[in-house]
């Protein structure tokens, strides 16, 4: 080891110590905002609860109309809501629910797909937004019915799209890394 090597070694040690000191000082003095799971998870759940409460308030009249089977009225209000709040997937979820109740499975599937494409957390069972069970119920009913119709009308483009929507929704609910 000549003088240059020794100088470099000392310099290296000093730099490592300074850097370590800076890191420790930073860790001690600056508040950490991205801690592991518990804190963030709680914050996230609170955000979801806030959002769901806000949605419940925003869609109060529409949900009431839907519950009273005033579907036409609810649909008109939902169209207005889509214009005023285009970013909110709740409108499409409610439309899907109304279409399901009316027995219009093709449109219900389409609306669910649209909502899930807008908000992937709707099929994430780790969030309170999860609607996978209702979608699966619809899929279970729709799959048999639409497959039978498809056999009778093999060239029907609407049915092809509806079946494609079923498979899409199934894949999304199945999960995986996407």
């Amino acid at each position: 080891m000549d003088r240059l090597d020794k100088l470099n070694s000392v310099l290296l040690a000093v730099l490592v110590l300074i850097t370590a000191g800076m890191l420790i000082q930073h860790k001690l003095t600056v508040p950490q905002n991205t801690g592991p799971a518990p804190d963030n998870r709680e914050t996230l759940i609170k955000q979801y609860e806030k959002r769901m409460a806000s949605d419940a308030n925003l869609y109060k009249a529409i949900i009431a109309a839907k519950d009273e089977n005033r579907f036409k009225d609810a649909m008109v209000q939902l169209d207005e809501m889509i214009t005023s709040h285009p970013e909110n997937p709740k409108s499409y979820v409610l439309k899907a629910e109304i279409f399901t109740e009316k027995g219009n499975l093709v449109n219900a599937l389409s609306m669910y797909r649209h909502a899930i494409e807008m908000e992937p957390d709707l099929v994430d069972n780790k969030t309170p937004l999860f609607i996978g069970d209702s979608v699966m119920d619809l899929i279970t009913v729709a799959r048999g019915k639409l497959n039978r119709e498809k056999k009778l009308k093999p060239n029907d483009a609407t049915l092809t799209i509806a079946l494609d929507n079923i498979y899409y929704l199934q894949r999304r609910i199945a999960g995986g890394c996407e």
Binding site: K27, V30, Q32, N33, T34, G35, P36, A37, N40, R41, L44, E117, P120, D121, D124, K126, T127, I166, Y167, Y168, Q170, R171, R172, A174, G175, G176, C177, E178
Partner: protein, 353 residues
């Protein structure tokens, strides 16, 4: 481990991969994605804020384990050899395009086998595509087209990648502010950290010794009818299949499979790209990660290219979703194949001139 013959090691590694990649799903990893290098790199890119999708942001301890396991075993068995300098920029971009291919299929060759073993029939086309790509690559190798030989390099080059892995390990446990961890989507689906790390270390160590490589197994078979690595790959598949059955994860069909799509033509082309590019750079994405831990600087460069790819496939949507491949993904696959052919042509000219 030294008493084990190489064929045994390949089979043992395959068995570990098969068991680990299916069982880790039971303790938290995403369905059909127990181990997937491209997904893990996309998650890593998100955690480092190279891409902004928080749902895909998490440092997978398995990935760190692969590099460190390989490093420790290579050092212990005196196989840590620092080499590099073979067409680094070409390797970087081939690594990039490999991840593009994986993102359009939705999975690396490891995940392809895991998906197949779980009954996902859409992966059959991927296997055929990858085998076709490897076959093409093998033909090119036979024709004398390969990247120039690597040379010995100063030791420090070989330690950079294990050091980076060690830094990631530090980030996992100490969570500095710039590291992001998603709480929903795939990022929230993970096994306990220590378990994931242990699995990564074991598989990384065995893979370093056995040289297990998905594309390498097929390449050796196509070139020399050599079956050592292929035996490991088949063991991986059979083990994963059995464990999938035993744990009730087997669900055969084309429809409703997790993280899949029905654009089979693009699946074929995407995995052809992965197979071909992997043969040119001598190893599938998993093998590149393992080699980067054993002092192979070229593999380290490739892995950096893969990480760049992992960030951009999310940011630029060069990938597929359950709805099928995005337009940008299709163009990128075509560009990748064109790039591979340019590389092949240019290296052939260089050799014959």
């Amino acid at each position: 481990m030294l008493w084990l013959k190489k064929i045994d090691l390949a089979i043992i590694t395959g068995a570990f991969l098969g068991i680990g990649s299916v069982l880790i799903v039971l303790v938290g990893n995403p369905v059909n994605s127990g181990i997937c290098i491209s997904c893990f790199l996309e998650n890593l890119a998100g955690a480092l804020q190279f891409q902004g999708d928080l749902r895909m942001s998490y440092i997978r301890p398995e990935l760190v384990g692969f590099v460190l396991g390989s490093f420790v075993v290579a050092k212990k068995t005196r196989r840590f050899k620092v080499t590099g300098g073979s067409s680094p920029i070409i390797r970087f971009f081939l690594g990039f395009f490999i991840i593009v291919g994986c993102a359009v299929f939705i999975g690396c060759p490891i995940k392809m086998i895991v998906r197949l073993a779980a009954g996902d029939l859409t992966a059959v086309v991927a296997v055929v595509g990858m085998m076709f790509g490897v076959w093409c690559g093998a033909r090119y190798l036979k024709a004398g087209i390969f990247l120039e030989r690597e040379r010995d390099m100063p030791k420090i080059n070989g330690y950079i990648f294990p050091f980076l892995a060690f830094m990631l390990l530090f980030f996992i446990f100490f969570q500095p502010t710039f590291i992001k961890q998603g709480q929903t989507g795939p990022a929230a689906q993970h096994a306990p950290v220590l378990l994931s790390l242990a699995l990564g270390l074991v598989i990384g160590g065995f893979s370093q010794r056995s040289g297990l490589c998905i594309t390498g197994g097929f390449r050796n078979f196509f070139l020399f009818r050599e079956k050592t690595l292929l035996g490991g790959v088949l063991t991986f598949f059979v083990t994963a299949l059995l464990i999938s059955f035993a744990t009730g994860q087997f669900n055969m069909g084309l429809n409703g499979q997790p993280a899949s799509h029905l654009s089979h033509g693009w699946t074929f082309l995407a995995m052809t790209l992965v197979g071909l590019a992997s043969v040119i750079i001598d190893g599938c994405p998993f093998r590149q990660v393992i080699k980067s831990g054993q002092g192979d600087v070229d593999a380290g460069i490739t892995t950096m290219g893969m990480l760049a790819g992992a960030a951009l496939v999310i940011t630029w949507s060069i990938r597929s979703t359950s709805a099928g491949p995005e337009f940008a993904g299709k163009i990128a696959v075509m560009s990748g194949l064109i790039f591979c052919l340019f590389v092949v042509i240019s290296y052939r000219k260089r050799i014959t001139s």
